[in-house]
């Protein structure tokens, strides 16, 4: 009896609460902290802008908002902000679809056949460490600075996660699941349909997810080098016109779009694989 009381004592012990701890408790509320954080961030930003720490190259948050509103209404290089965004998204979508259509089958066949794997993997490993952006020059040389070269670069960026995840998805299926379906009487075709594909699907989907965000990053890089429209173009234009508010405005839209994309994909994932347990 005594022993047990002893073991529990330090856990049960609670310091008496002093009045200021109630105030402290308010500051331990996450949402209060979030609000403080955002307010601090904006004030410091404003302060830095007003004090001209970076000279004229740091606009105030208000100026960025004004610029954003302006770009929504008044066309830049003949197109409003949403049209520019649509151009970037269109490139991403086209390249992304092509990358998935090529990358997933390559990855799958590598996972299924050790022979295809032995042939493709060394070539793939050779190209993998080169960042997609390093292909820009070659792409421009080959296809000019038109749409084709941009799509090409985005495909290069987006295809890698598709291949890797499809390959690993097939390879890392729990072998006991195969034992299980064979014991239930499944033949080779049923093994693939009922086990391999559904078991590898979450990994493949994760690869597609990564590849979409890679595509979004790469489209900007592609548009930085010679483009007439798109979000990357807005940023470059801001740089050439020495208008940092335009740059930051563009970055805000880019970040927001990226955020929306990942939100949409997460929703989609919950819908297409409801069995996947959430880690968090």
């Amino acid at each position: 009896m005594d022993k047990q009381a002893c073991a529990n004592a330090p856990v049960a012990e609670k310091k008496p609460r002093k009045p200021f701890e109630y105030i402290a408790a308010v500051f331990k509320n996450v949402y209060v902290l979030y609000a403080i954080s955002i307010i601090c961030f904006l004030s410091i930003w404003d302060l830095v802008a007003v004090m001209k720490v970076f000279g004229k190259f740091m606009p105030r948050p208000v100026e960025v908002l004004q610029q954003l509103g302006d770009m929504f209404v008044h066309p830049l290089a003949g197109k409003t902000l949403l049209v520019h965004l649509w151009f970037s998204l269109k490139r991403v979508l086209i390249a992304f679809v092509i990358a998935v259509a090529i990358g997933v089958p390559i990855g799958l066949s590598m996972g299924f056949s050790p022979y295809i794997n032995a042939i493709v993997k060394p070539v793939f490993d050779l190209f993998k460490p080169m960042p997609p952006i390093a292909w820009i020059s070659l792409a421009i040389l080959w296809f000019g600075i038109g749409e084709t070269s941009k799509i090409f670069i985005i495909i290069i960026g987006a295809i890698v996660p598709c291949i890797i995840n499809s390959y690993n998805g097939i390879r890392l299926v729990d072998p006991e699941l195969y034992d299980c379906i064979r014991m239930l009487g499944g033949n080779r075709r049923q093994e693939i349909l009922e086990v391999t594909f559904p078991a590898a699907f979450p990994a493949i989907f994760a690869g597609i997810q990564i590849s979409l965000s890679m595509a979004w990053t790469t489209v900007l890089a592609a548009e930085l080098v010679g483009a007439r429209e798109g979000m990357g173009f807005i940023i470059v234009l801001g740089m050439n016109l020495s208008k940092p508010a335009m740059i930051i405005g563009g970055m805000v839209v880019i970040a927001f779009t990226a955020w929306m994309i990942s939100l949409a994909v997460t929703r989609l994932e919950r819908w297409v694989c409801p069995w996947k347990t959430n880690l968090e």
């Binding site: 996450v30 954080s37 190259f57 042939i119 993997k121 060394p122 952006i133 930085l224 080098v225």
Partner: protein, 263 residues
């Protein structure tokens, strides 16, 4: 202990990768040599090798010998990368354990995180110029994200049993953080190192493509301006090789550190 017969013939599987690489090189050489693809668009492997040897001790036509380009890029990348580690890891660890740190930093982090590093390039040039500082900033901005995330998740995944045990023994929050959360987060933190490196290296190439006077990205851009496909390909290969080399070195350092900590 699988009992299934290993699928495929192991001898063939050992030779195939080399055959495959040789075939790729041969086809590459042939399509250019036979004029199927004009030499102005693609250099042959032999040409690239020749330029590589030439660039070892010649500064022309782009203004610097190869090793200078490599060292410039590596220097920029490591500066930004190390700064990202020094700031990102402690930040992530603190955010993982202290509610106040998370509450204050998370919204800002979540706002900045979705911005691709490439988008920072113009601002970085405005603020810090096209020299080392500007590049280091871009690399820092892209390298810090995985550092923070991995350290944060690492601390969050600490086995709660250890924390409860420490509390039972009367450890303070700070002591628990130092003696339990940090050690148990280390594997995740180390996992973040490689991810951050890959992100940094990609960002560097992007930064050098836009504005630079030396470095591997600059070499690639010059290859395009001078219409020298062999220089473009050489630049790309060097980017790939150097990236892999840094990765291996960091892997070694990481293993050394882990071994040191076990002792």
């Amino acid at each position: 202990m699988s009992d299934k017969p290993s699928s495929g013939n192991s001898k063939v599987l050992k030779i195939l990768p080399y055959l495959s690489l040789l075939t790729v090189l041969a086809v590459w050489e042939l399509i250019v040599d036979t004029g199927l693809v004009p030499n102005t668009l693609l250099a042959t492997p032999a040409q690239v090798l020749k330029l590589f040897i030439y660039k070892l001790n010649h500064a022309d036509p782009d203004g610097a010998v190869l090793i200078v380009h490599v060292l410039t890029s590596v220097g920029e990348a490591l500066t930004g990368y190390i700064l990202a580690l020094l700031i990102g890891i402690p930040l992530g660890l603190l955010m993982g354990w202290f509610v106040v740190a998370e509450g204050l930093v998370r919204p800002i982090f979540e706002m900045i995180r979705p911005i691709p590093p490439v988008a920072w390039i113009p601002l970085a040039i405005f603020w810090f110029g096209i020299g080392l500082t500007g590049k280091a900033f871009i690399i820092w901005a892209s390298g810090i994200v995985p550092c923070v995330i991995n350290s944060f998740v690492g601390v969050r995944m600490t086995n709660p049993v250890y924390i409860r045990m420490a509390r039972t023994y009367g450890a303070s929050d700070w002591e628990i953080f130092r003696k339990i959360c940090i050690p148990s987060a280390l594997p995740m933190v180390f996992g973040g190192l490689q991810v951050a490196l890959a992100a940094s290296w990609t960002a560097l190439v992007a930064a050098e493509l836009i504005a630079a006077d030396a470095g591997l990205g600059f070499l690639i851009t010059m290859g395009r301006r001078l219409l020298m496909p062999d220089m473009i390909v050489l630049g790309m290969i060097m980017v790939g090789l150097t990236g892999v080399a840094i990765g291996i070195i960091i892997d070694r350092v990481e293993k050394r550190l882990v071994a040191g900590m076990r002792r």
